[in-house]
């Protein structure tokens, strides 16, 4: 069975020689919500524009439901694109904006009306169908843009930072709405964002990009708990990273030489040999705090495989039931721990000397 979307060895080299996208491979199933995530300049928007037909790839093929679309212009592809700026027409009312794509496709007026009515109802826009563009709130404009993209019944909806123009509070609400909508319509969404929180909350799978290349494709949870590269670990989540060298291996557990002495962690790539330079990635929620004296306790050292570092609480920030500790380790790095206020009570105020521990199996060793 053909994938809804398949990119094979897709590349884009601009005329000035800049490599925007390099050897991009991805298969997307029908109904998947895919996020392309990365810093600005990573190639995510160029990739989206190539899928939509707004840029031509300089290599590779793009297929939608088994049909190669490389040579088709945007209006002949079964895709719709929602731009960050929405690109709505200010002189048209809500209905006219939504019907525009159908007018272009020469859909008869009666059918246009019916299809626009249907999508407006799904997106809760019926009440403002005749509303002028100027009177719309940011959230309403966003929904009108979505309706305009969906009314042409695309196989794939492409979204370029669609929440970027909304203020932060609205963004969070629309994010949940968008996910519900996508699941109920069952249409494939490909979504570009530089905000990890959006990608983590909405996407079924996330494609993390850096310098035109894919770093990792994974479900949000896997990306968070099993980053494959130092880049992913730095970009996603609240990880602390210690650099080191592998000195010994025992199954998938490696012993590392670090500035804090020997530490032990789980190898993400099995084939990293002794002597490799690595990043030791420690997620914020796997670390535990103990009173300083526990560092001398052989039972504690034993339990955590020697992953016991002395530190001092720099700051404690409580946000509802969540508490974030910033802990200075040996005056060289600061690690962040996120916990639930019930877990330690309020035993670790700023200035308290502590030790920080984690299980070897909870820390990820990835190539630097």
């Amino acid at each position: 069975m053909a994938y809804d979307l398949e990119l094979s060895h897709v590349a884009k080299v601009f005329e000035n020689g800049t490599v925007a996208v390099d050897d991009f491979n991805l298969q997307v199933d029908k109904g998947e919500f895919i996020a392309l995530l990365g810093p600005s300049g990573c190639g995510k928007t160029t990739t989206l524009r190539m899928i939509g037909g707004f840029e031509d790839p300089t290599g590779g093929t793009i297929a939608i439901r088994g049909r190669v679309v490389n040579d088709l212009p945007p209006e002949r592809r079964p895709t719709s694109m929602i731009f960050q700026s929405y690109a709505l027409f200010p002189h048209m009312n809500v209905r006219q904006n939504i019907e525009y794509g159908l007018v272009v496709k020469k859909v008869p007026q009666k059918e246009r009306r019916a299809r626009a009515d249907d999508i407006m109802e799904k997106l809760d826009l019926t009440g403002i169908a005749d509303g002028a563009f100027d009177g719309l709130s940011g959230g309403q404009r966003q929904r009108v843009a979505l309706a305009r993209g969906l009314v042409v019944e695309p196989d794939i909806l492409l979204l370029d930072e669609p929440l970027g123009a909304l203020d932060a509070d609205l963004r969070k609400r629309i994010q949940t709405e968008l996910r519900y909508l996508q699941k109920s319509l069952g249409i494939t969404f490909v979504f570009v964002t530089h905000a990890q929180s959006e990608a983590l909350a909405m996407a079924d799978r996330i494609v993390v990009m850096n310098n035109g290349r894919i770093e990792q494709v994974a479900e949000p949870e896997v990306l968070y708990t099993r980053p494959r590269t130092g880049f992913v670990a730095r970009f996603i989540g609240r990880n602390s990273i210690i650099v080191g060298t592998i000195t010994a291996r025992d199954g998938d557990i490696a012993t590392l030489h670090t500035e804090f002495g020997p530490l032990r962690g789980r190898l993400v790539e099995e084939d990293l040999p002794v002597g490799s330079s690595v990043d030791f990635v420690i997620p914020s929620e796997v670390m535990e705090l103990y009173p300083e004296a526990s560092a001398q306790d052989p039972a504690v050292r034993d339990m955590y495989g020697g992953n016991v570092l002395l530190g001092k609480i720099r700051a404690e920030t409580v946000v509802g039931s969540l508490v974030v500790y910033e802990v200075d380790i040996c005056e060289t790095i600061t690690v962040e721990l996120e916990s639930h206020v019930d877990k330690y009570g309020r035993a670790f105020a700023a200035g308290t000397p502590v030790c920080v521990t984690w299980l070897p199996s909870d820390g990820h060793v990835v190539s630097a």
């Binding site: 203020d167 932060a168 983590l200 609240r238 929620e285």
Partner: protein, 378 residues
């Protein structure tokens, strides 16, 4: 001691720490027939960081404008440092303002933006040399050394926010008022500016009043939170106290961390369409329409048939989907009557669950961590 120009209402630097620096006394503000603030009473102590949380239309920005002196209240009094400020124009109140849109001069350099107030204010105007030294001091304070000669349109959003802050702090205001100061920044930047802003305030020992629609900012940054609800103070307390016991259903709603289930109190229980919970200990059992409230993080998800521990309330409902946000996972459920219910697992505290969409699960929570409000949310 700086010379104070005639007519300036500048007052001595705020009283001893712990003494009210700002007092809002019984303030009501009307526009025509519309009452936007009603009988607002509050004290802010010198050195405090106070956040004002409320949805749009709650009157939070109006409160800030009244303190700043852009408007005078219809009724009531605003005292700063023990002096009544009603009738004193904004530029003579010695309060500083930081806006969401930064309100910088795009054609001026960073340094000139910061110096603007120092060179042009009504009193205590600084010489060019003194203003220049102050600008350097401020740039260092906000971590923008080296950007003095850059134009404002050549720097990033986060840097602009710092310039706006530096410009305000340069005038040594008694109170710094911030109107959604992080609202225009993207999520990543917002998180780091949140920490920086609070550190800066602590270091300076300054008094900050920060208006926001974002509950996370309000909870994380404040010594005390004011929750505004339709022009009135619904609660004014330390964040942990507000979170532990929101005074009204609207306060709980504003914090975005609580399940709020509509129903009624009947025969000593909270009853909804297709479910019923025993009344939490200590809650009024007076019959009538009501809202049941329990924190997302208090709810456990179990397989149907798991024995219910002593002192817990429970419900069976259908799992819809989950949202992953790194260190926490939120599981979304539908109650029998279609209302939403959420369970949030913090992964440092509890192990994540693998749940099937469309399947029923048993949810439980400690009965004494739930509240019942005799009010109904619209």
């Amino acid at each position: 001691m700086a010379t104070v120009a005639a007519g300036a209402a500048q007052v001595e630097p705020g009283g001893a720490p712990g003494q009210p620096l700002l007092q809002v006394r019984n303030v009501t503000q009307c526009y025509g027939d519309k009452v936007v603030l009603r009988n607002v009473d509050l004290d802010v102590c010198a050195g405090e960081y106070v956040t004002v949380l409320g949805p749009s239309g709650s009157g939070k920005s109006v409160l800030l404008r009244l303190i700043a002196g852009f408007e005078d209240p219809t009724e009531g009094e605003i005292d700063i440092g023990g002096r009544n400020m009603v009738g004193v124009p904004a530029h003579l109140r010695n309060v500083g303002l930081v806006f969401q849109n930064f309100a910088l001069f795009p054609h001026l350099k960073v340094g000139d933006n910061i110096a603007y107030g120092l060179r042009n204010r009504a009193y205590n105007r600084l010489s060019a040399g003194a203003a220049d030294r102050k600008v350097d001091e401020m740039l260092e304070l906000v971590g923008l050394e080296g950007l003095k000669d850059r134009r404002v349109n050549q720097i990033s959003g986060g840097q602009r926010q710092r310039v706006a802050l530096a410009r305000t702090l340069a005038t040594d205001p008694q109170i710094v008022l911030l109107d959604e100061p992080l609202g225009a920044l993207d999520a990543n930047l917002r998180a780091s500016m949140k920490v920086e802003l609070r550190k800066l305030q602590t270091r300076l020992g300054a008094t900050f009043v920060h208006v926001t629609g974002n509950e996370e900012e309000a909870l994380a940054m404040a010594d005390r939170i004011i929750v505004l609800e339709r022009g009135q103070i619904a609660q004014f307390d330390a964040p942990e106290k507000v979170f532990a016991r929101p005074k009204t259903a609207h306060v709980a709603f504003a914090l975005s961390r609580f399940n709020l289930v509509g129903g009624r109190v009947e025969g000593g229980a909270f009853v909804g369409d297709g479910f019923s919970f025993p009344m939490p200990p200590g809650e009024s059992a007076a019959a009538g329409p009501a809202t049941y409230c329990v924190g997302y993080d208090r709810v456990d998800v179990e397989e149907i048939g798991t024995p219910l521990p002593e002192g817990y309330s429970s419900i069976v409902c259908k799992h819809v989907s989950h949202e992953y946000s790194g260190a926490t996972v939120t599981y979304l459920f539908d109650l029998p009557d279609g209302q939403h219910f959420e369970a949030q697992y913090h992964l440092h505290h509890r192990k994540a669950k693998r749940l099937e969409g469309g399947t029923d699960y048993l949810l439980w929570w400690p009965a004494n961590k739930a509240f019942v409000y005799l009010e109904v949310m619209e």
